[in-house]
Amino acid sequence: MPDEIHRSELLQKLQGRDTIESNFSELFEDILPNEDNLDVDKAYVSEYRQLVKHLRSEVQSRDNELVILHERLTVMNKNMEKINDEIIGSSIENNVLQQKYDTLRVEYDKLVQRWLKKVQKEADKMNEHVAQADNQVESKHG
């Protein structure tokens, strides 16, 4: 058995809905599905169609070009970034190596100095011995 109380309440609500949802509906065009030929003057229209066709294909090819160029640009920018990063990396490496080299150079110079001194000392010692030996030989034969 249909519920009369509910039905009249629903009916009222739906009617209220329609009042609100239909207010000023004359400002809104009616529309049917699947409409595909709203043209009236056929002769005029075929020319229009041609023009539009041309324009559209032009626009399409321009749009296509733009897309390709844009992509290229993006890739190039990325490559640039990569290269910049590499340069920075190399720079840093270079600095580090330079520092290392400087340190090593100082050390090396020091080592060379020490070695020279050592060699000199040894040479002096040897000269001393040779001088002493000469003196001894001289005094014997003297």
């Binding site: 699947n34 409409e35 626009v59």
Partner: protein
Amino acid sequence: MSDIHHLVWNGGLNTQIEIDKSLVFMDDESKPLFINVRLPRESYFVLYASSLLHKIKLKLRKDIDEVLPYIWFEQDGSNLPWNIPIGTLHDVMNPRISELPIEAAASSTSILVWKIRMVYGQELPQNHIPLTNGLEQVQKYWMHQWKQACFVLNGTSKQIMSMKMDDSKAFWQSVISRNVDIFSSMSDKIVPSIPRNIPVMVHRQNYMDFISQPLVIPQKESWKTTTLQTVLDSSEYTTTEQNTLAVVCQGIDVPCSILIEELYRDFVSLDGFLHLILQQQ
């Protein structure tokens, strides 16, 4: 054919559609292009896409056929999936009438306009079913919905599978041409006088991304006594929020004490389902 069902079938919405700028040539780039149309609640957006594009045909950058598979509709940036009835989409995304200030809504100078956008893009939204076969695909989908509804109502898809080819065509055609008499005579062949279960789809307000699958109502008692409240109680949608939820159907608040079978027969949508929207009180 009840008067209620007539009102449901004939419901319409004032809709302002803003057209995606990338679709058209504009003389003044700063002004948006609008089409103001009256859309029926009981239909699918996709059925009107081509007609809308025809209205602005001379401004279009591309051919309509090229554009159609990449079109969808949005409100406030959210996709409005084409496979849900228009009225339901509106009710999900907008406050119900009873929420509007009474004086404003009922006044003769107030206007209710649904503002949406027609969007064009190569990357379709995640929850948009791609349309590769045009209207034929829409018809298949609609038929698929009815098959499910039929199975729920009858326990078998026989009623719809054994429909004559002519009847089947007429059924779909009645949706396109909005002929409520033919539609009803066809749906009467599917909806039994004693349904096994009621096909219901529940939506949450503003939550277009996760539309619930059809709700299966566990049948505890006869449909002659099962109310909407019982259905909500037994579902996952109402836990602590139960007392603060309002149920909207076809744009109006529906009392929870109403029998679910009654509600179905009067408020069923074009796809054989009863679409309910849960909104916060």
